[in-house]
Assembly symmetry: none
Homo-oligomer: 228 residues x 2
Amino acid sequence: MQNRVLLVEDDDELRELLARYLSGQGFTVREAANGKDGLALALGQHCDIVVLDIMLPDINGLEVLRELRSQTHLPVVLLTARGDETDRIVGFEVGADDYIPKPCNPRELVARLQAILRRVAWDQKSEVKAEQRYGDLRIEADHRRIYQNDEALDLTATEYEILQVLLAHAGSVVRKTDLMQWALGRRLEAFDRTLDMHISNLRKKLGSDDSPRIETVRGLGYSYRVSE
Amino acid sequence: MQNRVLLVEDDDELRELLARYLSGQGFTVREAANGKDGLALALGQHCDIVVLDIMLPDINGLEVLRELRSQTHLPVVLLTARGDETDRIVGFEVGADDYIPKPCNPRELVARLQAILRRVAWDQKSEVKAEQRYGDLRIEADHRRIYQNDEALDLTATEYEILQVLLAHAGSVVRKTDLMQWALGRRLEAFDRTLDMHISNLRKKLGSDDSPRIETVRGLGYSYRVSE
DNA sequence: AGCTCCTTTACAGAACCTTTACATGACATT
DNA sequence: AATGTCATGTAAAGGTTCTGTAAAGGAGCT
């Protein structure tokens, strides 16, 4: 099966060039010439990895990435003018998987894409299902709802995200920095108690069992207790 | 707790510099000055990611990577002289996760390391639980818990780290300076009794057998006794 | 305005790491 | 063996950091 790349780049010439090369290397290529289209295509879920130019005519690439990260973990490689160190660091912090300076060597681009895809393929074993169960909880991803014994929990958008991440990793500890990045889409800064508050509220809504479903792992993060 | 980096770099000065910076950024740092030591440490399973210089005095870094890849999927970031494009491509093809040209900006190194670790942490949600056994002890890495005869030990974060390191080296002596660096993430200074205290507490929690499980090797360090 | 939701502030309490202090034990030298 | 020195064991105190949560603030929407 071929890997599907989404190329978001406003320079027609460069985009065509890369598209051709990637095709030749066995990728299925989709193209977008601006941020809006790119975002729409990326969210359409029909690609495996995104190559995203930072400099775009409409929305800034970093903005696109931020938006993307608030909804998915789709791998993203940033593309931008050489030497712009600030963009680079910010890009990683917003959640990019890699960064390549322009003009880039196509072979290197392919090598980097494959390095990331390889990593993803190794680790990713189970596909996301529309409906998943964790004990008495049931996620309906389409409706962004979580049911407890068939009764819908009244969660806010953020609470849903957090609980969904915790459930996806049920039984394992999710670090606060990761939880922040994955559910809130931003970096955990010092003295930011937002996450703690959401956890506190979530615990209330999940009801009080004998032992808390969301366990605190001091100094690290939280973990959803797997029921036996 | 902290992410653990293995730094394989023969230039003492650069290695020290990076080690210090990474420590400051919340990483626990392990160091190796040549390929042989690096390989041994990496295979020892006690780090989350490897920063590997290609130019090494004994084994070529690429060779180390190849060897490593034949056994694990541990994330590896290559480090080498700028502009050496062949190495770069080959590196990716052998299975590197990223590549950074020297001299590198430490901030960028950290950003890249975190980008990879983020992705790995996310994808590993479905990973098969790695369980390690040492006599009646069992480590569950996901929970960061250690069980003794199926009963979870109530360890603090630091105690977990220390015991985990000792177990990983079960049967051989771990120097106090190494234990400090690996488990506490900082250098052992004179008159610092922190480690001794943790060991003391650990021994209490491990229960009193006839002979202590954690043996003292005077003037050197500690060693977890292998059960027969 | 009113409502919802996210975030910040503030404080209390808990968990934990580190330091201090003294006791004990090991090793070397006499 | 006796002595001195240094490493180690551990109780207790100290202080720092982390966490839980109520309450207030603020942003966005209707």
